[in-house]
Symmetry: C2
Subunit: 337 residues, 2 copies
Amino acid sequence: MVTIKDISEACGVSTATVSKALNGYGDVGRATADLIRETAKKMNYYPNAAAKQLKTSVSHNIGVLFIDETCCGLTHEFFSEILNSAKTEAERLGYDITFICKNIAGREASFLEHARYRKCDGVLVASVDFKSQAVQDLVYSDIPTVSIDYVYNDRSSVLSDNVEGEYELTKYLIEHGHRRIAFIHGESTSVTDKRLSGFYRACEENGIEVPDSYIMESRYHDIESCRDTVKILMDQKERPTAIIFPDDYSYIGGRQGLEEMGLRIPEDVSVVGYDGIRLTRALSPKLTTYYQDTVEIGIRSVRKLIDIIENPKTSIAEQIKVQGRIQEGKTVKDLLQ
Amino acid sequence: MVTIKDISEACGVSTATVSKALNGYGDVGRATADLIRETAKKMNYYPNAAAKQLKTSVSHNIGVLFIDETCCGLTHEFFSEILNSAKTEAERLGYDITFICKNIAGREASFLEHARYRKCDGVLVASVDFKSQAVQDLVYSDIPTVSIDYVYNDRSSVLSDNVEGEYELTKYLIEHGHRRIAFIHGESTSVTDKRLSGFYRACEENGIEVPDSYIMESRYHDIESCRDTVKILMDQKERPTAIIFPDDYSYIGGRQGLEEMGLRIPEDVSVVGYDGIRLTRALSPKLTTYYQDTVEIGIRSVRKLIDIIENPKTSIAEQIKVQGRIQEGKTVKDLLQ
DNA sequence: TATGCTTCCGAAATCGTTTTCGTACCTCAA
DNA sequence: TTGAGGTACGAAAACGATTTCGGAAGCATA
């Protein structure tokens, strides 16, 4: 491995000068600096990350908290797309990505300890149990964090606008003449709360009263759960004319359930999803859904995180909302025609 | 941050002794070692990764080469499942995972340079352009590597048995009475070659001649491409009775294409996929496919990599084959009944 | 008592950087 | 000539760990 010392010898200067030249400090002569930089390139020099980190305590490494307790973290298309986009953006900006976990060299540790151990400059928090103590310890530590799709007090986050999204989606149904709209939502989380609020707002604004039996809890990204729930939902005399599913993936289950009951989409009942993952374009009938801009979410969260890292003084905690949009498919019947 | 020095002071011993006690060296007294370990735990000590790495040149960090040039690396369920499983296993064994890319702190570099910069103990090579020079430079360096689904000379790899898999799948079709079998394969890669070879072997063994027009090239994980290809394929007078798709995801497109031609599955034509991703269980009709054990692939590749890292002398280069199995759905019609 | 062997521990060098502070030299005005 | 001020560079001390090597103590044996 070629070190700073090799370069210093090759150039006949001290290691201090080499370091300064390579890092663009002012107090080194123009000619010397040029020579050093050229020699470094010629000798194929790359700094030793460990030494640099040891001395400066910055690692150019961002951690990602992306735990798969439900076994669908990484394999959930929504999250893997975000991760993919975040990875690309981070690399472009010169940061590496390391997964944070609860192991340090084989020994049990907390997320925070792990992040410290690896000296992560910052951590992206996504797809975890946001309310758990372990995660909160990390978020409220001195390590910069950005959370995705969840808001912590005084911390930055990037969110798709769930209130607005569900509001738009509901309004879309209403504009197509639906007034008996059911909402199968996911587990109780802040995301769920927001979607519910957007849903209710759209209903209220249009003078629609929603019977309790139209609101059912299922689970995100769970085919079976949605299939069963939809059956219970549709087993009442005053059936809804439209159903909102927790997400696109649930549509697969919902569709099965409806089919087993002999109900056709959209002739007998209209449905919409949420996420706009690629998959939906492929299912038939093509699902009408609310597209979340995963690429944008990934990019914005990394940029914000790096902003906090590099400008700790001026960077402010903020909630960055990423707009989505209705993606029309063929699962909503227009009752007004 | 609590360092080894703090512990040494608290215990009234030297830092050398602390280090030795914590690393289980023999030449430290029983009582002293116990005291040191207890104190370390009490003071919530964790070693400084950078310092450790600087001194020992081992990082407990494994790199993952997982490039997304085709924009489907991470979001391809097959790979994201492998990554997920590899991540879990690596963490269990005390290793962290970092993505390898072509950027070092903002400066352009090669994969190899990046891996050296981060002092990766080893690298998992998956889902890249295996034949590119940059990847080969890395694989044939002194850094331990394990490749997934691709074999390099004298290097270890973990593969699903593609020859056997496609052979089994073809035999399954033949056993169900099919003799006019078409194969839409993916881009030309070593995986494709193996699958073709398994396919041909099964045909030969059963005295089946395959017309050239039954072999068509499409692309992996590409809905549109498969949809178009299947239309061309079925636009000939002597139509096949069964089609093998490049993978499960392609089934979505293939199904569309067939539907648009008014062909029903499996009444008019039988189809099979490859991979066995979760999605297939949800599509209807449920796809008959060859399940690849992604969890096992992830685990085995990490274990092998760590074996090479920790036992460089005794570990031998080998190809580890992971068995899959036929996963029966409802897309193959039994012509013999 | 002298000798040799263990056992236990510490001093100090080292890994490859960064960074402070001092110094030598030069320039220029008074 | 002197002194102030600026520029260019280097010596050396860190950062937090590991590891070599030597030495002190304790004990048994001759």
